[in-house]
Amino acid sequence: MSTAQAVSHFAISCEVNGTTVDRVVAVRQLLADFIREDLGLTGTHLGCEHGVCGACTVVLDGEAVRSCLALAVQADGRSITTIEGLSGDGLTSMQQAFRRAHALQCGFCTPGFIATLSVADPSDYHDEAGVRQLISGNLCRCTGYENIVAAVCEEWGIERS
């Protein structure tokens, strides 16, 4: 950096759930806070703010990303999909599977699971162990994972071991 002047704010342009968003953000603002506070998309939840629990997972250019570990400025020129964008008019097929299997209780972690699953390729997963590995970056305190695993296996046609 050649200039001594600290930059406190930065103009970003990104696509959020299919709509172009132009905003000036504080350079230190977390992506999660930008999504929740600036855009009012409160379906993205903060469970730990240090990248472990996965509740804040969003899809950034097709990848599952922890929005508590990214800065808003990193979204500049990129495409973000939050739980609001992942949900259609009704429930997606995976969301319906969650509902049928009782794969959520308090629902706080659920959008993060849905986001993680939305970018996974079902053809990469052939057994329950693989599904458990896939979702092991998302913590749930209510379900003991039993019904989340059941929902994913049902949706992807995986026989449980």
């Binding site: 379906g43 469970g47 959520l104 305190r141 209510c142 003991g144 695993v149």
Partner: protein, 807 residues
């Protein structure tokens, strides 16, 4: 037992889909952190970074100059604020003010609050607050707290015992003195409830009324506490609990932050929000367990215990929390005998204060500690007596003909499937073990089978915990002119499907489609006084009060329907939500006709019937004690659930790693309203129990600094740690509760510590390993294996146990 009577329930017992899910799955839930009000400020708490110190001075001069800062306050600034009330007469009074005044007693204790235009600025400014501490020696364990000459947390006390209830039972003394005895010492570590949503509070003052949104399990109790501590009329306060991201007991307490944020909204005349971060949560929200149980028992040649003496000693942290953490130890004492027929039992209970985060409620509430202790103790007794440990248990377990069974502690076990559930869990566990023996290879891996049985006090007395409230709850039903039903209840929804269950019971009680029922909970302006959701109580108390309110509404509706049908009231019956004359389904009127007459076309009301079609009712569970009798016996719960778990583990002798291969739950919570929801409760509870058995542990260093203030260090299990869970239901109806139901929320947490400790001990029985502590970590297990080996070689190990207090 209040039952359906002439009504034909259609939803009771069915797998009704949850009404909460559509919103929660799509990010449309509304949690406290989602609330954003015009002009809202954000608060950050300055917390003690030392474990024990005199608090000399708080200096805001730098902080107040920071960008965006609106105000900053310390204890002395909180004008009008009072100490939290302490209603418990059987323990020493803990004087607690919402911000620490002259002393801090744990890392994380709230010392000051900074308010700014957003959280970033508030947190920056909080770092500029200068606090002058004069450090004092910290007391960090039961042993340190009880040591002669130990530093005291409260100068006005002679020692660090906040509660000390000795036992005195000459008969137990006599039997123990004249029989062969076995003794043991068992410990369960400090844990944190850790809902995925941390705590949070938003408050605003509009037209002189204070509204407080909080992630809380007991909205009315918070309202009463706020009125007391803030010194304002309770009618001026509204508490709302929006969607709650899990509670697990930790959110039953009334916290300093709730008072301070409410006070800020009053003082600053602007809405204020505080959202706890996870690092704060792991030092300032209540923690739990941290208990030692010392047992001495005499036994018969068949391995059954003839008399038992227990000392329950609990480390409750600093003790500075409203609804004190001491009472879990009383539940430990009550649950130690589980469904075992132990004819003579006496227990002392001691709670000590230490320089750690205050303890409080966590799913299981004293029972997991007790069941770990008694299960390991029974196995030790059996080994000493030379009896198979399963056979020893069979000699002691309750049979149906024993029920109701009065235990020496005063527990009145009203019903249950104790032996049947135990035998089923053993059968499934032994089959699983046999299967695993076929498929598991490796000469350095040992398989073991563990099991346990427990009883769970459900719908407990809150007087026994708070010295104030009892056990009742309330429901109100209104029928609207279009026939729609609104039901409000004093319990809270904390993610367990409460709204669905309330809707199902109400729909059955009024014979309306469930879609017609709107449920309101978690708003003190909309719901009559109730005690909230904790203690595995909600289903029983909302069902009891809904059935009573619905009966009043039905009776009035019958009168109105008779008038509309021009029939005599005794001839009118209701079927499937339609009122008609007995024997002929036409003509008929529905709820909309009746409610229209009641609320709108009141000109159609018969003489003597007042307008309106609504009713409120309470339900106070009978047959539980709020106080002990002269002999110290107390039945503190309306009904007792039971269960047996079993599990198979693989232990790696080289790494000390424990892998759970199978986990089986045979559970009995009486009649089940919704099996899907009950299974979900069991799954989640078992996972938390497994977490306690193997992973989670709050650790402090020798100076009292928390070492586990993030999820990198405090290890919540993920889907790869929790095994597949097999759950079977037994249904032993509770004889005295509405519809025979019992509570279910906590039971699953009680078993896993004992099951896994039993299984690991079984796997390593050839080495003589006897697990007495949780968590069972790789390190603790390797140490236990080494100690057992040394012991066999004749050396004297320091502590032949599986625990690891300093993992």
């Amino acid at each position: 037992m209040p039952d359906w009577g002439d009504l034909v329930p259609r939803l009771f017992g069915a797998r009704v889909e949850r009404r909460e899910d559509a919103a929660l799955l799509t990010g449309q839930g509304r949690y406290v952190a989602d609330i954003r009000l015009p002009g809202m400020l954000e608060a950050t708490f300055v917390r003690s970074h030392v474990a024990h110190a005199e608090l000399r001075r708080v200096d805001f001069s730098s902080a107040l100059k920071a960008p965006g800062v609106v105000a900053a306050f310390a204890a002395a600034d909180l004008t009008g604020v009072r100490e939290f009330p302490d209603y418990i007469s059987w323990q020493r009074e803990v004087r607690q003010f919402p911000l620490q005044r002259d002393r801090v007693r744990y890392v994380g204790a709230p010392v000051a609050v900074v308010v700014a235009s957003n959280r970033y600025e508030a947190e920056d400014a909080a770092e500029l607050v200068e606090v002058d501490y004069a450090e004092l020696p910290a007391v960090l364990s039961i042993e340190e707290a009880l040591a002669p000459g130990a530093p005291r947390l409260f100068e006005e006390w002679p020692d660090n015992k906040v509660m000390d209830l000795p036992e005195h039972d000459p008969e137990v003394d006599r039997i123990l003195a004249s029989s062969p005895t076995v003794s043991g010492r068992y410990r369960m570590q400090r844990q944190a409830p850790c809902p995925m949503e941390t705590r949070g509070v938003v408050a605003e003052l509009v037209h002189g009324r204070l509204t407080v949104w909080s992630s809380q399990q007991s909205p009315h109790i918070l309202r009463t506490t706020l009125a007391t501590v803030l010194g304002i009329p309770e009618s001026t306060i509204r508490v709302v609990t929006p969607d709650i991201g899990g509670g697990f007991g930790g959110k039953t307490h009334q916290y300093p932050e709730e008072v301070v944020v409410a006070w800020l909204a009053m003082r600053l005349r602007r809405p204020v929000r505080w959202i706890e971060d996870r690092a704060e949560h792991l030092v300032s929200a209540v923690q739990a367990r941290d208990e030692m149980i010392v047992l001495e028992g005499s036994y018969a040649p068949d391995g059954s215990i003839t008399a038992l003496r227990a000392e329950v000693i609990c480390d409750v942290g600093s003790g500075e929390i409203a609804m004190p953490g001491t009472c879990t130890s009383l539940v430990s004492a009550a649950c130690l005998t589980a469904a075992w027929k132990i004819p003579h039992y006496a227990t002392s209970v001691t709670c000590v204060v230490t320089n750690k985060t205050p303890s409080g409620a966590y799913r299981g509430f004293g029972a997991p500690e007790a069941v770990l202790a008694i299960e390991r103790f029974i196995s030790r007794v059996a080994l000493t007596a030379g009896v198979d440990p399963i056979e020893a248990r069979r000699k002691m377990i309750l049979d149906p003909e024993d029920l109701p069974y009065m235990q020496p502690s005063g527990n009145r076990i009203d019903s249950g499937s104790h032996r049947a559930a135990f035998e089923r869990a053993i059968e499934l566990g032994q089959a699983a073990l046999a299967r695993r023996r076929q498929e598991t290879a490796g000469d350095r891996v040992r398989l073991g089978l563990g099991y346990c049985q427990y009883v769970e006090p459900t719908v407990p007395s809150y007087f026994g915990t708070t010295g104030y409230w009892t056990a009742y709850d309330s429901s109100s039903i209104s029928i609207h002119p279009d026939g729609g039903v609104r039901v409000s209840c004093g319990v809270a929804a904390i993610g367990q499907g409460t709204e669905t269950t309330i809707a199902a019971v109400t729909a059955d009680a009024l014979q309306v489609p469930i879609e017609e029922v709107t449920v309101v909970v978690g708003d003190t302006d909309s719901c009559a006084y109730g005690l909230g959701s904790w203690g595995s109580r909600s289903a029983v108390v909302f069902t009891g009060s809904i059935l009573r309110a619905a009966e009043i509404v039905r009776q009035k509706a019958s009168k109105i329907a008779a008038s509309l049908l021009e029939a005599a009231e005794p001839d009118v019956v209701m079927e499937e939500g339609r009122f008609h004359v007995r024997g002929s389904s036409t003509p008929a009127v529905g709820w909309a006709d009746v409610a229209t007459a009641a609320c709108v076309r009141t000109i159609d009301l018969p003489d003597g019937v007042e307008p309106g079609l609504d009713a409120s009712a309470t339900y106070e569970p009978p047959n539980l004690d709020h106080r002990p009798d002269a002999e110290g016996r107390m039945n503190g719960a309306a009904t007792w659930a039971n269960g047996s778990h079993s599990g198979v583990v693989a232990v790696d002798l080289d790494t000390g790693g424990v892998r759970i291969l199978d986990y089986i739950v045979v559970h009995d919570c009486g009649r089940v309203i919704n099996p899907t929801i009950v299974e979900g409760q069991v799954h989640g509870a078992v996972a938390q129990g497994i977490a306690g058995a193997l992973y989670e542990q709050i650790v402090h260093d020798s100076g009292g600094q928390p070492q586990t203030a993030s999820f990198m260090d405090y290890l919540l299990p993920s889907a790869t740690e929790v095994p597949r869970l097999v759950v079977e239901h037994f249904e032993s109806p509770a004889p005295e509760t509405p519809l025979g139901i019992k509570g279910v929320g906590e039971a699953g947490t009680i078993g896993p510590g004992a099951v896994i400790a039993n299984a690991v001990s079984d796997a390593l029985s050839e080495l003589g390993v006897d697990i007495t502590e949780t968590p069972i970590t790789n390190r603790s297990l390797l140490r236990a294996i080494a100690a057992a080996g040394a012991s066999r070689r004749g050396a004297s190990p320091e502590e032949p146990s599986g625990g690891d207090a300093a993992a």
